[in-house]
Symmetry: C2
Subunit: 251 residues, 2 copies
């Protein structure tokens, strides 16, 4: 069956800045016949696919399930008529990328596919903050999660355990509920004075960082957050003073 179909590459477009694309992704785009891309992907990245038919498949965080089904079908159709199909997804395809539905559709249709990893938003945020997510003596683990609701709403609260269990926690999406997220984490035992950094549009020229504590976030100190944004929680995000740095560096 495979010989009759093209091949699909599920490709991570990285966190936003066009030059945080991988060399492999750039080459695959240049060679592609068809590209299906998320609306969040930077136009300069999409433009690398000079010879391809380019199909926008909507904004990732705004998708509903019928839209996902449409993408699955469009992907299978594209591979039935073209040799090289790129499915370009924001960040990394395997982390909050809803890739499983697309993989299921490709496998069920017997279409060959490959996955090309990308730089995920949390690491772009850490670069922006110049703060390692893990650090000797301070953090040996980091959890990435999504939150859609606070405790007691009846929805899945597994994200709370993940963030509380790790030394450093990063929440993708859901930042519009930041105050409720902070309330849930404090209720689950996370220290109220845990430092928080919110990085809006990591890696973009207009990226912005907002800082507070979990308690401050719960009190509504951060009024407005521009998306996409990641919510970074943990002792590693505390402001370090210059004197402590010089001692640490042995100067």
């Amino acid at each position: 069956v495979n010989g009759l179909h093209g091949t699909v590459w599920l490709v991570g477009a990285g966190p936003g800045a066009p030059d945080l694309l991988t060399l492999r992704a750039a080459r695959l785009l240049q060679e592609a016949d068809v590209v299906l891309y998320d609306a969040l992907v930077h136009p300069e990245i999409v433009a690398l696919a000079g010879n391809a038919r380019k199909i926008s498949v909507g904004k990732r965080s705004g998708r509903i399930s019928t839209e996902q089904r449409f993408i699955d079908r469009a992907l299978v159709e594209a591979a039935r008529h073209h040799a090289r199909v790129v499915r370009l997804k924001g960040g990394d395809p395997m982390l909050f990328g809803r890739a499983q539905e697309e993989i299921d559709a490709l496998e069920a249709a017997g279409i060959e596919y490959h996955v090309v990893p990308g730089v995920t938003a949390a690491l772009a945020a850490a670069a922006e903050l110049r703060t390692p997510l893990t650090s000797r003596g301070l953090s040996r683990s980091v959890a990435f999660a999504t939150a859609r609701s606070g405790r007691g709403t009846g929805e899945d609260d597994g994200w709370v355990d993940a963030i509380v269990g790790a030394d450093t926690g990063i929440l993708y999406m859901g930042v519009e509920h930041a105050a409720r997220i902070a309330v849930s984490l404090i209720a689950a035992g996370k220290a109220a004075l845990t430092p928080v950094a919110i990085v809006e549009r990591a890696s973009h020229p207009d990226s912005r960082t907002l800082r507070c504590t979990l308690a401050g976030l719960a009190r509504g100190e951060i009024a407005e957050i521009a998306t996409p944004a990641v919510l970074c929680i943990g002792e590693v995000f505390a402001k370090r003073d210059a004197e402590a740095l010089q001692i640490a560096a042995g100067l």
Copy 2:
């Protein structure tokens, strides 16, 4: 002070394959005067720095603190004598990259620096496995941690809480103690039948995947693991059968 010094870029070299480098990293290497690189970084990546003096600073996982102090000093010295210095680190610099020591040294010396994120090993492993780390209904969180010991050895066991708290868990390094890691996780309440996938040398041509359950791992079913490897734990790593896939895809 800054005007007298060069600038340092802490750059992620990605998981291994040379073409999983970012476009930005490739450009910075081409423009660099000096490159200090981890021994694990692929020689083809280092070779991109055509005009630079190239200094190997040893294997990341084998470093001891005197070696780290040597790297910190070499980095500061390089920036005092050259305009463009690249510190090239395996994976992403902010995740298990021991970047804090180097950042402290640069800040204490008043040297300008930037961080360039990279593709981290866990995402290369997920691409290799073609398995999303998060998946609707199955996993909404993922924890990355390092383990150096089992429970009861007196060392920090925080990594256990992180892996148990998240739906999907990835252990970087420490895979030589895989059996002890599995014993610790089962003791802490992780289900014994949780699927495990070990990905050796993710993204390299000789990458290999070993599969078992947490119980199998604890029993010593996996005898030998080639490093670098990541240990992937969670329901998302269960083998899916074709019939279930066709139902999931609505075919």
